[in-house]
Symmetry: C2
Subunit: 424 residues, 2 copies
């Protein structure tokens, strides 16, 4: 295969005509494939559904003297705190266990800061003339939308192969209006990058101008290797404490991709002072979370070693789908020199950088052929990718045959839009 940039106009036209024929054939198949969201497939959910049988007898609902069906234990069951502390390598006293959504806990932290201010805030954030927020991009659209919804000004920080560009971060935090940063430190969404030790140390030792600067450390994929063994990862709370920034970070995780996206358990880990402050405000909005579901997870997951065995079983479903995507891209697209993409070993996404100016067109073509993908731009603040290049591929949900079909469609569309850009 010849790289597109080395083709003559006639060669590109011939290639494009062939792709148009192939595209028409694909369209004629009437496909309806969905790769929009990173969610486990039905087989993965069936695999763990025996968690719902963990509690049987009336006495199973009394745990550490707490009736888990009644009100109480706002910050979570002690054993649930122990479990998450074990998964995250932190201490149970640093852990708050919530409901089924870590996003809800993240919202809670920002919402409390907005209305009441954080521990070291000069004033509630709603009283600030402007709040700015650092968004390493490409990143997670729901993170960006959350801070956008509070009217914060989103500042794009470029991602590097070792995490956010820390030079850019260190420069940005000189502005006291910059109040925080989003991070997905392990198997970042969408690139699957693991922050390097150097990045983590620089992050934990920052000296921001804002006394209430906040790291939102969304460790969503903390044990989510699908290729190879569990990769050890530094505990950010310990790192921040070491550098005198103990109150600067909130870490989040959940079992959304360990048990169920809709019926898992979410947690937050932070300093004791932050926890005390958070509980005071979160206690205004709820009396307690679903402790029965917390206890199911305690009994089912047990500890990190046991949970890692379960993650190996998830990996058996995930890996073939990622291999289908990556092997097809490596074979079909790499020689054309029109795009690049990540080769993650964990998480839920492949990040694909199409030829600048072609991401939207590529996804419009995909849609025409019945393949739904995350909207172009979604991985950038305000949904606007300045290069119109990044596309998030989420191969986890469809069966592997459908992933193969979808990625074949995708490759055709990537090629067509690149040729259109180059001129045909």
């Amino acid at each position: 295969m010849t790289a597109y940039k080395d083709m003559t106009l006639d060669q590109r036209r011939a290639e494009y005509a062939a792709l148009q024929t192939a595209f028409a054939d694909l369209k004629a198949q009437g496909l309806k494939l969905d790769m929009t969201r990173g969610k486990p497939c039905k087989d993965q959910l069936d695999m763990v559904s025996d968690i719902f049988d963990m509690l049987k007898e009336p006495e199973d609902y009394i745990v550490d003297g707490i009736d888990i069906r009644n009100y109480g234990a706002l910050s979570g069951l002690p054993e649930a705190k122990r479990l998450f502390a074990n998964l995250l390598d932190c201490k149970p006293k640093q852990v708050f266990v919530g409901g089924n959504a870590s996003l809800q806990l993240m919202y809670g932290v920002i919402d409390c800061a907005f209305i009441h201010g954080r521990l070291n805030s000069p004033r509630p954030w709603c009283k600030e003339p402007v709040v700015k927020w650092l968004c390493p991009a490409p990143g997670y659209d729901r993170h960006f939308k959350l801070t956008e919804s509070f009217g914060f000004e989103l500042i794009t920080i470029p991602m590097t192969s070792t995490g956010p560009d820390m030079d850019a971060v260190e420069e940005a935090i000189k502005d006291p209006a910059v109040k925080g940063i989003w991070c997905v430190p392990k198997y970042s969404n969408p690139e699957g990058i693991i922050y390097s030790k150097d990045t983590i140390v620089r992050m934990a030792s920052m000296k921001p101008a804002a006394p209430d600067f906040t790291i939102m450390w969304d460790n969503a994929y903390c044990i989510h290797e699908f290729d190879g063994d569990y990769v050890e990862f530094p505990d950010i709370l310990h790192q921040c404490k070491k550098y005198g920034n103990y109150d600067m970070v909130y870490e989040f995780a959940s079992t959304s991709k360990i048990t169920f996206p809709g019926d898992g358990v979410a947690c937050m880990a932070t300093s004791e002072a932050n926890l005390e402050d958070f509980e005071k405000w979160i206690g205004i909005q709820t009396i307690s979370y679903d402790k029965v579901n917390q206890q199911r997870h305690v009994l089912y997951l047990q500890n990190r070693a046991h949970t890692l065995k379960l993650m190996k079983k998830h990996a058996a479903f995930m890996k073939p789908k990622f291999e289908a995507v990556l092997s097809t891209l490596d074979r079909e697209i790499a020689p054309l020199e029109i795009a690049s993409w990540s080769h993650p070993k964990g998480g839920y996404f492949v990040s694909f950088d199409a030829m600048p100016g072609t991401a939207k067109r590529t996804l419009a073509l995909c849609k025409e052929a019945g393949v739904a993908m995350t909207a172009a731009g979604a991985t950038f603040p305000y949904g606007i990718d300045p290069n119109d290049s990044n596309i998030r591929i989420a191969p986890s949900f469809p069966p592997v045959e459908d992933v193969e079909k979808a990625i074949a469609v995708f490759c055709t569309c990537v090629k067509m839009s690149a040729l259109e850009k180059l001129g045909v």
Copy 2:
């Protein structure tokens, strides 16, 4: 028995001395009784714990084409909406089904109004110089604390035997800074009052100065009769719509006292326009609620008729406890003419009005004798009862023998504090 007001000083002194002896005996028993919160007892929870066995096979988790374990269906399962619409006498399209806490949905409504404004808001409430909120009192402490936490100015509205004093409400809403009111319309917390038809019509037909005035209609005890049959109650959405105020009201309910306080399902009902607005903002903070638990409730509760049968079984636990409280008060306290109290037929509380200036002292004495009750003042805005009179009695949780012991202690303390006030 002689009314205390008719006693001579010597008689009061003799009575007080006898009570002191009785009190010393009670203290010596080393009681540890808790009547602080309205929550079901363990037997009630055991009774409904077979709800956890409703889902067994992998196919049980696919409902109306939705995998209830995965992401999706933010506003709730269609059948869960149908169930709550049936319980509340409204329409499924008016219903949002959430997580385990109606308080969380209430917080969500106020939080969205604070940050973004409601449909007809001139500006977000956080940009208003002052927001005032009507609090019929005695009322529910968590309601008052919620609006207090946003910095709203709480305005006490007296409760009457037919609901909030509507003359006072109609006067107050002439102020455009008054943005809303809390209501527990059926078996009000703590008095157990059912709002009259006239109150409801006046409420639904209000013409507040604020275009975004909000009725928070917490129908927490909508089917919670413990004495006698289900009492029909007008649908507030229909009433508000009839008077051109369709967007003015948000109704809330939950299964916290039908199945479990910690693991029930909460819902909200409001106009379609309000729902659309709410979903837009709530979708920022969560992807979806626990639909497995929603489906358990759909299968277990089925419909109103079936749920009312279950409520009769709850009533069998509740009624003896309320009878223990009321018969003791009627026998021990009524002849002394030092206090009055409600005689509810539903809900979770008895509202007790001690001699003015004695509520705190009464509860301090109770505590000394090992009986914990809801703090005096809790039923009023800012936790301050101007008369230091109202006490909320919550007899549902302890076994009936403990309720009897606790109320005996309570009567002794009520008498002692009244005598102290009268002079001994």
